[in-house]
């Protein structure tokens, strides 16, 4: 397993390097001058020039890239043009927010998606299956921003049950933190639950028609045991992959949801940074989330080992 994982890590390194080049180049291709945006209504050419020098925007692109990469290797991702805060500090502020949102959304997705998928596969072609499908499809089709605003209007404004938006750190007030995150994670979770349900359903369908399931039934095992122990465990592999991938996506930031619920996570930060041409921030976030995404894939690979004994022989 160690060999397998170290091979994966080795493959990951050039990927990260490629991503760093890509992010850097893509940003520089964007039209617009970061300092002109930064200057806003105060465009003193002398000050602009000075800041260009200070942030080394006059250096050749190759030099800019290598300065950034070498600094990044030492953990210095530069400072935000807009707020003068170090990018690493900004990200450390946002990371717990994004992780909490991602984790809570994932819980919603799994709790709704997986049982619905199993049920729908088991009761294939029945009314239950159709209902589950319709629900899944609507989860996918309802836009997050619409569902978000509707929930805010209903739950917060009308019933006054949950805070409308914002964020409270877990360490500050655990209960309030969970309450504030409930609506956004529900909005994100339901959309993911739909994908989760579809994948679980197809994986389960494949497994349920397999020979060993028939054998298990022939042995006289209870349906519950057949479905949940024999079939579901083997259907888990694609679900784990999907969970890891979706979690990786969530960590990259749920832009619209964060915007609506004013959650200060990665998504909101990166969007604002792109609009402000705050290069260091965009580069930092994309790089770190790319690494996070790759890491989640590694975790998924490791889980295969645990779930699938056949791989252990390799």
């Amino acid at each position: 397993m160690l060999l397998f994982l170290s091979r994966r890590v080795l493959i990951a390194l050039p990927t990260i390097l490629l991503i760093s080049v890509f992010v850097f180049a893509l940003q520089k291709l964007l039209p617009g001058d970061p300092l002109l945006v930064l200057a806003g209504e105060e465009r003193d050419p002398a000050v602009l020039e000075l800041l260009r020098e200070k942030y080394r925007l006059n250096d050749p692109l190759v030099v800019q890239y290598f300065t950034w990469v070498t600094n990044a290797l030492t953990g210095d991702l530069g400072i935000s043009l807009r707020t003068n805060q170090p990018v690493t500090e900004l990200m450390l502020q946002k990371l717990p927010v994004t992780l909490q949102l991602a984790a809570m959304s994932m819980i919603f997705a799994l709790v709704i998606g997986v049982p619905a998928g199993i049920l729908s596969a088991y009761k294939k072609g029945t009314v239950t299956d159709y209902i589950a499908n319709i629900v899944a499809l609507s989860g996918l089709s309802i836009p997050n921003f619409w569902l978000g605003i509707m929930l805010i209007l209903l739950v917060s404004v009308k019933w006054q049950l949950l805070p409308a938006s914002g964020y409270v750190p877990l360490s500050e007030d655990f209960g309030q933190s969970i309450r504030t995150m409930l609506m956004p994670s529900f909005v994100l979770g339901t959309a993911l639950a739909a994908t989760m349900m579809r994948h679980t359903r197809s994986a389960m369908l494949g497994v349920l028609s397999a020979d060993y399931v028939r054998t298990a039934r022939a042995k006289g095992l209870t349906e519950r045991r057949v479905v949940l122990k024999h079939a579901f465990r083997n259907a888990l592999t694609p679900i784990v992959t999907l969970t890891a991938l979706l979690f990786g996506e969530l960590v990259a930031g749920a832009v619209l949801t964060e915007q609506i619920f004013t959650i200060p996570g990665f998504g909101k930060m990166v969007v604002d940074a792109v609009f402000n041409r705050d290069y260091a921030v965009v580069q930092g976030i994309v790089l770190v989330t790319a690494v996070g995404f790759i890491f989640m894939n590694l975790v998924a690979d490791a889980l295969y080992f645990i779930l699938n004994p056949r791989l252990r022989g390799q």
Binding site: G40, V47, N84, R277
Partner: protein, 508 residues
């Protein structure tokens, strides 16, 4: 439902509130929803409007303004201008301390002006350009020596250039001062989480502590206007700035919400490229009759009704019609399609002409231009809307890569800030590259004229030419709309859009 306007009524209200405030402070955290996050919290480096809102509670200035834009004392209690207009002597408030305990005195003012003028990253250099030196003439008296008369200086000192920061903290932090700002305002800096909140807490040693009634103030950037209003309705925030005009009816219909409005100091309009690079050489840039035709084609009041449900103010000058600087000789023109067609024909385009306008790709500017497009079409002008993300639009405009651009200005207290930089030859914000010797002369004269009447005459002279040449076609003036929990009393709407918390109270 209360509607506050920057009138005598509002002044009376705030005066009453001042009396109420003295009765005692509430242990409440006032939560204010902002449209966006502030930039760096250093008055010398700062650029954003929301940043200025935060400063209003954090950093006192030498002088402040009234809702009618008169300059009134804040940290300076009195000032005198010398006969020749080149020296301002200021008496300073005694017994004021910065949040770190550093005393406020003439030395502190001198250090602040020095920093604004010399810090590499300072954005205040041009605002204080006329100040050649300072002279401390007493513990609480300072003289500002000017290179020449400058009628705009006091208004600059009523904004960021006049904000006093602790010289001790500034010397220690250098350009990083904004990470932990130390001023002398009613509230001191407590905490900031980017894009989440800025928390200020009451400064017990504030010189005017009796007028301050909240324990702390939390500024929360909530960009979505619907969500901002929902937060107010659910009680998660206590007040918000820049309510969307389209939400005004809903807010007014809510018994728990009070609305306050003030026509802003800024403007929105279309800037034509009349000489910026190769693209300046186009029919619209070369012939003022075409720009006049465009202006006649637009019904500004209808625009205001359709896009802003009447909440904005139609306009045709850099100053709103309610401003003392507005030139009454050129009222907001009525729409005149026949006249527009006539001008087009005179200019050699009897069959009409296309006009490409770049527009920020956000809802309001796009709606605005679509209405303008429909109006212009009736006069034979085919408006082609090119929507661009703001950073791109700004870069293209600055580089002269445009024919016409829908852009605005947030406005300044002194009229100079709304006009000089945009239309004088080679000025920093003159993206139209308009140049007219008479306009230059009039606007330069307005900068040094000693009396308001003389300044007004100079602005009117420039206005007459600009109304004819139309390098900028002004369309409307935004209205600042605040929505407040009805328990908030004593809030006064100011045309600069700031939130002044002196005298504002919370009554259960």
């Amino acid at each position: 439902m209360t509607l506050l306007k920057p009138t005598l009524m509002a002044a009376l209200l705030s005066a009453t509130a001042l009396g109420l405030a003295a009765t005692g402070a509430s242990a409440k955290d006032l939560r204010i929803g902002l449209q966006s996050d502030a930039d760096v919290l250093d008055p010398d480096q700062s650029r954003t409007f929301v940043g200025r809102i935060v400063y209003t509670s954090l950093c006192d200035k030498l002088v402040d303004i009234t809702p009618d834009l008169e300059i009134i004392p804040q940290l300076a209690t009195a000032w005198q201008l010398s006969e020749d207009g080149t020296t301002i002597t200021m008496q300073l408030r005694e017994g004021v301390v910065f949040h770190d305990g550093t005393p406020f005195n003439a030395e502190a003012v001198a250090a602040n002006i020095e920093r604004s003028k010399t810090l590499d990253e300072s954005r205040r250099k041009s605002e204080l350009a006329s100040v050649s030196s300072t002279e401390v003439t007493g513990e609480y008296e300072i003289k500002l020596h000017l290179a020449g008369p400058d009628a705009t200086l006091m208004a600059q000192l009523a904004d960021r250039a006049g904000m006093m920061i602790s010289p001790t903290a500034a010397a220690a932090a250098g350009a990083d001062f904004g990470l932990n700002p130390v001023c002398s305002g009613p509230y001191s800096f407590s905490e900031r989480v980017a894009q989440d909140k800025i928390v200020l807490k009451r400064f017990p040693d504030y010189w005017n502590a009796d007028a301050i009634s909240f324990d702390s103030v939390t500024f929360l950037p909530i960009p979505d206007t619907t969500v901002r209003l929902a937060n107010l309705q659910s009680g998660d925030i206590d007040m918000l700035e820049r309510l969307a005009a389209t939400d005004l009816a809903q807010a007014k219909g809510d018994a728990n919400i009070t609305v306050a409005e003030a026509v802003s100091l800024g403007y929105q309009g279309i800037t034509f490229n009349v000489g910026n690079g190769a693209k300046g050489d186009n029919p619209w840039g070369n012939d003022k009759r075409l720009r006049q035709a465009f202006s006649y084609a637009v019904d500004r009041e209808a625009l205001n009704q359709v896009v802003f449900e009447g909440a904005a103010a139609a306009g045709n000058q850099p100053f709103p019609p309610n401003s003392p600087w507005y030139d009454a000789a050129f009222p907001v023109p009525q729409r005149d399609v026949a006249k527009a067609k006539e001008l087009l024909a005179e200019a050699g385009y009897p069959d009409g002409l296309e006009l490409e306008v770049q527009v920020p790709n956000t809802t309001v500017p796009l709606q605005l231009m679509q209405v303008v497009q429909a109006m212009a079409a009736e006069a034979g002008i085919t408006v082609k809307i090119v929507s661009k993300e703001f950073a791109t639009l700004l870069a293209d405009q600055s580089a002269g890569d445009y024919t016409a651009s829908q852009i605005g200005w947030s406005g300044r207290v002194d009229p100079d800030g709304n006009i000089h930089g945009f239309v004088t030859t080679d000025a920093g914000l003159n993206d139209a590259k308009f140049s007219n010797a008479e306009v230059d002369a009039a606007l330069n004269a307005a900068r040094i004229a000693p009396t308001t009447e003389e300044r007004k005459a100079s602005y009117d002279a420039a206005s007459a030419i600009l109304n004819d040449e139309l390098p900028l076609v002004y369309l409307y003036h935004e209205t600042w709309i605040w929505a407040l929990n009805s328990k908030i009393k004593g809030f006064t709407a100011y045309p600069d859009g700031m939130i002044r918390l002196e005298g504002v109270t919370w009554s259960e």
